[in-house]
C-alpha cells in the first residue's frame, strides 16, 4: 500500500488532534457548568507522565491511560474544591494548577527524562474491519487506535448529553444562572464538582495519549501548550463538543504540516517561525471571532468563572 504524503499527514493530524480534542472536551464540560479551568495544561502534563510511568510499570498502555485519567480527575477536583467550595478566583486557581501540575509532573518524570515507551508497549492501532480498506479515508480515520474512536464516541455522547438530556439541561442551567438552578432544586455544587472532575479526567487522558502513543517525556515540552490551545478551542467552538472536535483536527493538521515542513528541511522559513504558527493562528482566530461578535461573549455560559454563593438573606 502506497499512501501519499497528504494522506499520511492527515492520518497524523488525527493523532495530533486527539489529545487537543479530549482536553477541549474536558475544559468544555467544566465551563458549561460555570467553572473555568485554566489548569488543563498542568493536568495534561501530569496525565502524560503518570501514564508513561504506569505503562512502564505494568506493560499495559490501557492501564497507563486509566492512571492518567485518575490523576487528571484528582488534580481537577483540587480546582473544583478551590473554586466551588473555597470561592477562589478561578483564573488564579487554574494557573496555580498549571504551576503545581508542571512541578509535580517534572518531579515525577525526573527518572524517565527523555525516555519513551518501547514500541511493544505503546498503544497500537486497531483497524476497523471493512472501513479501514476504504481508499484514503480508511487510512486517515479507520486505521487509528481505541482512544481516537473513543474520543468520537465521547464527543457525540457529550453533545447529546448537553443538548438532549435532563441532567445536561441542569448543567447548562447551572452554567447560565446558578441561582435559578438552585431555586429549581438543582444541586449546583455537585454538578460543578462532577463536571470539573470528569473534565479533568478527559484532559488527563489527552495528556496520557501523547506518551502512550510513544512520545518521549520531555518535561513541559511534552504537551507544549496544547492545553492552552484546547482552552482557546472551546471559545472557537462556541462551547459545543462537535465543533471542538473539528477545531482540534484543524489544529492537528496545522501542527502536522509544521512537522512535515520541518522534517523536509524547508529553508525558506526558519523552523522557529513554523513553531510560532499554531499559537499565532489561535490568537488571530480569537481576535477575528470577537471582532465579529457584537455581544462580546461569543456564546459563553453567563455564569462562567463566577463562584456561586447562595444569598441567605
Amino acid at each position: 500500500m502506497n499512501d501519499s504524503v497528504l494522506v499520511l499527514t492527515l492520518a497524523g493530524a488525527v493523532i495530533t488532534g486527539t489529545p487537543i480534542a479530549l482536553a477541549a472536551l474536558g475544559a468544555l464540560l467544566g465551563e458549561r457548568s460555570g467553572v473555568l479551568n485554566l489548569g488543563i495544561e498542568g493536568i495534561m502534563l501530569v496525565g502524560a507522565v503518570t501514564a508513561l510511568l504506569g505503562t512502564q510499570a505494568t506493560g499495559q498502555p490501557v492501564i497507563g491511560l486509566v492512571i492518567g485519567a485518575l490523576a487528571g480527575a484528582v488534580l481537577a477536583s483540587l480546582h473544583g474544591f478551590l473554586s466551588v467550595t473555597m470561592r477562589a478566583n478561578q483564573i488564579v486557581s487554574g494557573l496555580a494548577l498549571v504551576i503545581f501540575g508542571t512541578g509535580v509532573a517534572i518531579f515525577l518524570g525526573q527518572p524517565i527524562e527523555g525516555q519513551a515507551l518501547v514500541p511493544g508497549r505503546r498503544l497500537g492501532g486497531t483497524p476497523i474491519p471493512l472501513l479501514a480498506d476504504l481508499p484514503a479515508i480508511g487510512r486517515i480515520l479507520f486505521q487509528q487506535d481505541l482512544v481516537v474512536y473513543g474520543s468520537w464516541l465521547l464527543i457525540v455522547a457529550a453533545a447529546f448529553y448537553l443538548a438532549r438530556t435532563r441532567t445536561g439541561l441542569a448543567v447548562r442551567a447551572v452554567g447560565e444562572s446558578p441561582a435559578t438552578a438552585d431555586a429549581a432544586g438543582i444541586r449546583v455544587a455537585l454538578i460543578r464538582y462532577t463536571h470539573v472532575a470528569v473534565g479533568g479526567a478527559l484532559a488527563g487522558i489527552g495528556g496520557a495519549y501523547i506518551t502512550v502513543r510513544g512520545a518521549p517525556w520531555d518535561q513541559a515540552a511534552t504537551t507544549g501548550g496544547r492545553g492552552w490551545i484546547a482552552i482557546a478551542l472551546v471559545v472557537f467552538a462556541s462551547w459545543r463538543p462537535i465543533r471542538a472536535l473539528a477545531g482540534a483536527y484543524l489544529f492537528g493538521i496545522a501542527l502536522r504540516a509544521n512537522f512535515a515542513l520541518q522534517a523536509a528541511d524547508v529553508r525558506i522559513v526558519p523552523p522557529q517561525f513554523l513553531t510560532m504558527l499554531p499559537y499565532l493562528l489561535t490568537i488571530a482566530v480569537l481576535i477575528v471571532l470577537s471582532a465579529t461578535d457584537a455581544r462580546g461573549r461569543l456564546g459563553a455560559p453567563a455564569a462562567l468563572g463566577r463562584p456561586y454563593v447562595r444569598d441567605e438573606r
Binding site: 473555597m86 477562589a88 504551576i99 501548550g225 526558519p270 441567605e312
Partner: protein, 381 residues
Amino acid sequence: MIRGWQLEPRPRPGPGVLLAVPVLSVLAALVVGAIFLSAIGLAPLAVYREILRVSYTTGYGIADTLVAAAALILTGLAAGVAFRFKLYNIGGEGQLYVGAIAAAGAALWLGEGVPAAVAVPLVIAAGAVGGAIWVVIPALARAYLRTSEIITSLLLNYVALALMQYLIFGADTPWRDPNSPTFPRGAPIPDAAVFPRWGTTRVHLGLLVAIVAAVVIAVVISRTRWGFQWRVFGDSPEAARYAGISSRQVIVVVLLISGALAGLAGAGEVAGRAGRLDPNGLVLNLGYNGIIVAALARYNPLAVIPVGVLVGGILNAGPALQSLPGQNVPVAISTTLTGAILIFALAGELFVRYRATRRPEAPAPGDEPVAVGATSDGGTP
C-alpha cells in the same frame, strides 16, 4: 457548608489573618512537598534544612536569592498590577523574554563607546519598552474587541520563546556571539551596559530597580488620579463607565505597565545576571512564578517585595540542591513547593474574606424552637 455555621464577609481583614494565611500556606506546602520527597525515598527534613542553608542563611545563598528576587519582584508586580484590576495578563513570561531581547539589542547596538551613565538607563528603558510591546496586541484586542486577554497573552509566551531561540540558534543575528559559531550563544553585552553590582556579590542594580518600581506602583495606585480610575474600574467596570472613566484607556494603560514591568525583569536578567541574551538560562518560569508572588502578596505592590525574596529563595534552592552529594533531589521540588503554596493560599483566601460564625437562629425543620440566646454563644448579635 457545615451545619450550624455560616460564612460572614469580613469588611476589613485584620493583620493577624493577613499574616496567618501566607505563613500557614507555606507550612502546608512544606508538608505536601515532604510527602513527595518521602515517596522517592528522600528525607524531607534534611532537604528543607538544605534549602534554608543554601538560600537564606549563607552570604552566598542570600545573594543568589536576592538576584532571583529582583526578577520575581518585577514579574510579581507585573502580574499584581494587572490582576488587582481584574486584567489577567499571564504573558509575563513572554514579556520578560522580549524585554531581555530588547535590552540585549540596545546594549549591543550602543557598543563600547558609550558611558555607563547613558548605556545602563537606555538598556533599562529598552527592556521596559520590549515588555510593553509584547502586550500591545492582547491589550488592544481586549480594549477594543473584548477579546479575553488571558489566552492571547499566554499564547504569546510560546511565540516569544520561539523568537528568542531563533535569534540565538536560528540564524546569524546581532544577538548571537560571532566568536562561538559551533556552540550558538548570546553575544556578550558591552561592559558599559552591565548593571553595577553590590560589592563583590552577584546582587545587581535590578534589585534596586525592582524596589523602586514597587514603591512607584504603590504610590500610583493609592495616590494618583490614574490609580483611582483603575480601582473604580477594578471594582466595577459599570461604575467606571458611569463615572466617565474610559475603560479602554484603563485596560491599555494597566496592561502596558504590566508588560513593561515584566520587560524590566528581562533587562535585569540580561544586563545584571547573564551579561548576554541566554535563552536556556532565561527559561526559569520567572514570569509564571511572578503570578504566585503577586497572589501571595494579595496584589499589594509593597508586599510583593518580601514575598519575592521568599519565593526567590525556594526557586533558587532547586538548582542548588542538585550539587548536594549523595542525594538526587529533583529540581522540580521548587516548582512543586511554590505551586502548592499558591494552592493553599487560595484556599486560605476564603478565611481572609469571610469569617465563620455560628448561625444565629434558623432552626432546621423539625427542630424544637429554642429560646433566643440559647443557641448563640459568641455569635453575632
